[in-house]
Amino acid sequence: MAETQLAVLFTSIALVVIGLYAAIFVDNIIKKIIGISFIEEGANLFIVGIGYKAGGIVPILLPDMDPTWFASNASYPLPYGLVLTSIVIGASTLAVMLALVMVLYRKYGTLSTSVMLADTSKQEEYDE
């Protein structure tokens, strides 16, 4: 079952690459943000994949289990704890970005990045 772990790592890297592609080349800002959420999902999946133990059990110690048998069979729970935090952070970041997009849409009337987030230093430099 080591193939599962390998496939998981492959999937996570694929998600990161898809996300990076979207972040650079897609012009629509909402799609760009969707792509960024894929990068975060890829990183999360990678970390869960580290903790996975092929043929193991869920890392919950029940009363009737032998601790030494449990230690050698359970998957590694530390990465799972980390990913929980990371998922929530990703969701909140996404919410803040979408809120900013909604505010900026009212000003520009378009979702195109090249209009919305273009160079602003020239306009404000010397307004008569």
């Binding site: 990161v16 990076l20 972040a23 760009k32 943000i33 960024i36 990068i39 975060e40 890829g42 990183a43 999360n44 990678f46 970390i47 580290i50 590694y76 530390l78 990465p79 980390l82 935090t85 990371s86 952070i89 990703g90 909140s92 970041t93 803040v96 970005m97 900013l100 997009v101 505010v103 900026l104 000003k107 919305m116 987030l117 602003t120 230093s121 306009q123 404000e124 430099e125 010397y126």
Partner: protein, 485 residues
């Protein structure tokens, strides 16, 4: 009194939550915010050095191999952390004080962001846990975005969104790096990782270890605003309110040094690590100063200067000897204070004239002599003129690079200092000394008292560090000595 160590993070965080929850009661949160802000610099000064294990999980000694494991999130508190947390506490107090006196009606969410940012940088510098570092790094990024978006300057939302998008590319990359490290070592505690590497249990030439360095390094570049992130970093400084920008740059400096110290402890076995840091620092110095020379918006100019100064810190740490790292950290401390002084002082000018273009300003020395003199001294300190604090740290950096056998780096350091001086003199001339243009109207003749008070306090710190650098450098040097063993 080790119970005070977690309080350094908990007090500002609880204050932030309470203030945003009870933001209806204007009078009460005004007093509450003021009291908490006074407490912030006092707590680290009253606390004793030591370790704090969250949840009380003491380190476990493996009887067979004699290796110590740390199951809890660990905070370590020593002189370095103490001085930095005290300085950031003083700065937060001054900024909150300026904010409270500036507005008739205070905004609860804005105070929430200021205190949350302070709490997260405090946690960043205290922590000994690489994932804990990542979490607070993300919270810090959110707080920074909020501070920028809350300002009333044109195009601040755009800049905040750009910072956020770049940040949400930088931080998952850093998380991937942490994941690689976790996959190799099975732990996130830095002390344990260092023990594993020193014990030879890890193949340091393996590509996974090298890749983890590359990915975490990229996250560090984003956190510290070194190239390629120098434009966005200087942009968010120029789009925040001046007192907010003073706090933002201190967040940047502290997150930079706390992440780089953790990286140094883990990766200093690889010689390429120091090469990378020196490379990016040199590029940051050159780009920051040469772009600052061509700016006409003085807030943007200070933003680029602040990025250029970050290069000095990186240079000191990249050289890797005890003296050089001490110099870099001392430079970091000076930069927090000096740049904050410059941002607050130039903010006072924006307040009085509503104008940020240096070409339209002039003759302000007659109107604001106090601010002018204090800004002049601050600028001289940034350029490294004796006997101010910038001189001491830059002299140490020049000596360190000479004694490491890199005379080119010391020439570069001196050149960048001179160029910084040119930038500052040019701006000072066109704002304060040259004749006042006819169409310039000085709107408000009074600079807020709180701003003058804040600048005076920061100036006192600059002069004190300049005259007696030993009070700081001895402690930092012994910390670095312990780190290098």
């Amino acid at each position: 009194m080790n119970e005070l160590i977690p309080l350094m993070v908990i007090v500002p965080m609880m204050a932030a939550l309470l203030i945003s929850a009870f933001s209806k009661f204007d009078k009460v949160i005004r007093i509450f915010a003021f009291v908490v802000a006074i407490c912030l610099p006092i707590i680290p000064l009253a606390s004793n050095y030591g370790l704090h294990f969250f949840g009380g999980y003491q380190p476990i000694v493996d009887n067979v191999t004699n290796i110590v494991y740390h199951p809890a999130i660990t905070y370590s508190f020593s002189f370095l952390q103490q001085i930095f947390i005290a300085v950031i506490g003083i700065l937060t107090f001054l900024v909150v004080f300026i904010y409270l006196t500036k507005y008739k009606k205070v905004s609860g969410p804005y105070l929430f962001l200021l205190f949350m940012g302070t709490a997260s940088v405090t946690a960043l510098i205290l922590t000994d846990d690489i994932f804990h570092m990542f979490v607070f790094f993300e919270i810090l990024a959110l707080a920074q975005v909020g501070i920028v978006a809350a300002s009333s300057i044109d195009y601040s939302y755009e800049m905040a969104l750009k910072y956020m998008i770049l940040g949400s590319i930088g931080s998952p990359i850093m998380l991937l790096g942490i994941g690689f490290l976790l996959a190799m070592t099975g732990t996130v505690n830095v002390t344990d990782i260092v023990a594993i590497i020193r014990g030879g249990l890890l193949d340091i030439t393996s590509p996974v270890f090298l890749l983890s360095l590359g990915l975490i390094f990229f996250g560090w570049l984003y956190a510290s605003g070194l190239p390629p992130f120098h434009t966005i970093k200087s942009g968010i400084y120029s789009k925040a309110e001046p007192h907010g920008a003073a706090l933002l740059q201190s967040f940047t400096v502290i997150s930079m040094i706390s992440i780089v110290i953790i990286m140094f402890r883990i990766y200093s076995v690889l010689p390429i690590f120091e090469v990378l840091i020196v490379l990016f620092s040199v590029i940051a110095m050159i780009l920051g100063v040469s772009l600052a020379l061509t700016q006409t918006d003085f807030r943007r100019m200070i933003g680029f200067l602040a990025v250029g100064e970050l290069g000095f810190i990186g240079l000191g740490i990249g050289l890797g000897t005890q003296f050089a790292i001490t110099a870099g950290l001392f430079q970091a401390l000076n930069e927090i204070v000096i740049t904050a002084l410059l941002f607050i002082g130039f903010g006072a000018i924006v307040n009085a004239t509503n104008e940020v273009d240096t070409r339209k300003l002039g003759g302000l020395l007659a109107y604001h002599p106090k601010v002018g003199i204090m800004l002049l001294i601050g600028g001289l300190a940034m350029a490294g003129v004796p006997p101010l604090s910038g001189f001491q740290s830059k002299l140490m950096l020049v000596q360190a690079s000479l004694s490491c056998g890199y005379p080119e780096l010391s020439i570069l350091t001196i050149m960048v200092s001179i160029a910084t001086f040119v930038v500052f003199v040019k701006t000072f001339y066109s704002m304060f000394l040259r004749p006042k243009p006819h169409d310039l109207e000085v709107v408000d003749k009074d600079v807020p008292r709180a701003m003058v008070f804040a600048m005076a306090v920061l100036l006192l710190i600059i002069i004190a560090f300049g005259l007696f650098p030993d009070i700081v450098t001895n402690g930092i040097s012994s910390y670095v000595g312990g780190m290098l063993q």
